[in-house]
């Protein structure tokens, strides 16, 4: 049954693409057991998705913040601030144990620095440590460059690691107090594996927080949002960052990401305790903060 479905999909693909792509897709059709992952609305072999996502982020790395600002009209900063305030992390003054934060897919480091700054300003916490993990070394280098301009420059408190979020090989079990991932989990090839890895590395009592684009509920706003995403954003990417394809991929990956309830179930499935609904909608559902606690 699965083989027939794959073949039908491959034939439909062939009909949609022009003549000179016939030969490149015929190999895929013949491999009936080929496991396909979503790359936006395209289906690509699982092994390729990582490379393609890597390519997307290498090309947007240096312009990343400009494009984020243009795409969300600066609102992404408000979202990140809201998440940092909501989490309210920091070693309390009477506790002797510094916290270990982990920011995954946080290449450029804005959430990481924000968390540490909040801990410092609100609780006077100067000891909690931070690991910034990202699968793309270009984004991490950008983060390291920005770190040099903050008060954490060359500090042993922040570590930058190239890690695959689905495995987190170098991070020991039960070691992380707060795990944050902002706008990164939709790029994982296997989202459930990423959630399972998060469950593994967290200490009991640790908090998992995920800030991600989600589905807009209201039909009118959803239509306007779709119009903006499919027309305006790629055009802005093309004219401002000279990269239409990466921004088309970004828009498609947002649409493909599970909606708020489905993602909350996935977090529950990984073993986390999900309080209440499990999510908080931001800007009518354009983004959502999902929380989970490891008990």
């Amino acid at each position: 049954m699965v083989g027939i479905e794959l073949e039908i999909k491959a034939i439909a693909n062939r009909l949609r693409q022009p003549f000179n792509r016939l030969f490149s897709t015929s190999l895929r059709a013949s491999n009936e057991e080929a496991k396909l992952a979503d790359f936006g609305y395209r289906k690509v072999p699982v092994e390729q998705k990582e490379k393609l996502v890597h390519g997307v982020f290498s090309s947007v790395a240096s312009n990343y913040d400009i494009m984020n600002d243009v795409m969300s009209m600066g609102i992404h900063r408000l979202w990140k601030c809201h998440m940092i305030n909501k989490l309210d992390c920091g070693m309390r003054p009477n506790s002797g144990k510094p916290l270990q934060f982990l920011d995954v897919a946080g290449g450029t480091g804005d959430v990481a620095f924000g968390l540490l700054d909040h801990a410092n300003e609100k609780y006077g916490d100067n000891e909690s440590k931070m690991i910034v993990a990202d699968i793309n070394p270009d984004m991490l280098k950008e983060g390291e460059r920005r770190c040099l301009k903050t008060r954490y420059a060359n500090s042993p408190r922040i570590k930058f690691m190239v890690q695959n979020g689905e495995k987190l090989e170098s991070i020991p079990d039960n070691s992380i107090d707060v795990y944050t991932i902002a706008f990164g989990i939709r790029n994982f090839t296997n989202i459930q594996a990423g959630l399972d890895a998060a469950y593994r590395v967290m200490k009991p009592g640790g908090i998992f927080a995920c800030l991600e684009f989600s589905q807009v509920h209201d039909p009118v706003l959803s239509y306007l949002y779709d119009l903006y995403s499919f027309s305006c954003l790629p055009m802005m990417g093309q004219l401002i960052a000279n990269d239409r394809d990466s921004y088309e991929y970004l828009v498609e990956s947002i649409r493909k990401f599970p909606n708020q309830e489905k993602f909350a179930s996935m977090i529950r499935k990984a073993g986390f305790y999900v309080p209440g609904k499990g999510y908080e909608d931001l800007t009518f559902g354009v983004a959502a903060i999902h929380l989970g606690v490891k008990l």
């Binding site: 000179n20 119009l227 499919f230 027309s231 055009m235 004219l239 309830e261 489905k262 179930s265 529950r268």
Partner: protein, 332 residues
């Protein structure tokens, strides 16, 4: 759907003829309208209610888990029409208009950024103009050959390593030297994406790729002034609309002395050369005339070489500096 619900509701209201009241005959109409609009908003609930009746719903799992199990594929709300060629991005009309507007502003303010020039070129190369240009190609023998062969210019197809060894005054050698002097390569030309018809897209791509040959033939540099002069010449000879727009508006963004030089030396040269040019330059099969003597080529095409822009700029700069020094000394 509307007529169906109207028929159903009407059947509920049917009475024996003598008891029917004429002034209530609008009721079936109203009731069916309400049923239709209600159906639009309640469709999902009605579907779920049917499923509940048929015992298809497991009430022990949450909504999220049910959605996980269902694993519905999400179809995009907007889909672009099918592509006509591999690199094609079919844009809607309002997107083309927006691209024209923003790229024209961007190209005026930042002509050094390639993305604005590319977008402006493709949004102004409207089908009527491209069809006229294709007709020019079809009316010329070499043009027909180009349309048939569809040559694509890269450094491999031009055999750049061989061009180095060509005789001194050949067009190939002049082109190679110009590339070295300006530090550019023929591989940096972007593919055409936004033109809908496949053959017209090739015609515009051919124009874009031959742009460097016009530079080499006239010896104009890639500085803003040089680009504007070549653009004006292209507009007069080939007729590209965005080249005309560039020739009209781009000098406004230049420094005063550059603009004066452009208007007094290079625009008259462009008009003069275009008037004497014997064929539309899009019809020249550049790859086949690489070994031709460049003066012979210019005479054949009717093109004269303008004053060397780099030398003129250098001279003017030296004079300005000398004048500034003199003024400074006089004021001491």
């Amino acid at each position: 759907m509307f007529t169906n619900s109207y028929a159903i509701v009407q059947s509920c209201f049917k009475r024996p003829l003598q008891l029917q009241r004429r002034y209530l005959s609008f009721l079936p109409l109203v009731a069916s309208a309400v049923a239709t609009t209600g159906g639009v908003f309640l469709g999902n609930s009605i579907r779920l209610a049917d499923q509940l009746e048929n015992d298809e719903i497991d009430q022990n799992i949450t909504k999220g888990e049910r959605e996980l199990k269902e694993n519905k594929t999400v179809k995009p709300r907007f889909e672009r029409p099918p592509k006509n060629y591999p690199n094609h991005v079919p844009l809607y009309a309002y997107e083309k208009a927006a691209m024209f507007l923003f790229s024209s502003i961007g190209a005026l303010l930042h002509p050094e950024k390639n993305q604005y020039i590319v977008a402006l070129g493709e949004s102004t190369a409207i089908p009527p103009y491209l069809r006229w240009l294709r007709k020019q190609m079809l009316e010329d023998e070499t043009g027909r050959e180009i349309l048939k062969n569809r040559p694509y210019i890269t450094s491999e197809t031009l055999h750049m390593d061989k061009l180095k060894k060509y005789p001194e005054n050949s067009f190939g050698k002049v082109y190679y030297e110009w590339l070295l002097r300006e530090n550019v390569s023929p591989d940096t030309r972007v593919n055409v994406k936004f033109i809908d018809d496949e053959e017209l897209a090739f015609v515009f791509q051919r124009y874009r790729q031959c742009h460097d040959f016009y530079h080499a033939l006239t010896g104009l540099p890639i500085a803003r002034e040089g680009e504007i002069a070549v653009k004006f010449f292209e507009f007069l000879n080939i007729g590209i609309p965005f080249a005309g727009m560039g020739a009209l508006f781009a000098p406004l963004n230049l420094k005063k002395h550059q603009r004066e030089r452009l208007l007094s030396v290079y625009y008259p040269w462009a008009i003069d050369t275009a008037a004497h040019c014997k064929k539309n330059l899009i019809n020249v099969y550049w790859e086949k005339i690489m070994d031709k003597d460049v003066d012979e080529l210019r005479a054949e095409l009717g093109i004269t070489k303008p004053p060397d822009m780099r030398k003129l700029r250098k001279l003017a700069k030296e004079r300005r500096h000398a004048a500034k020094k003199m003024i400074a000394e006089v004021n001491k």
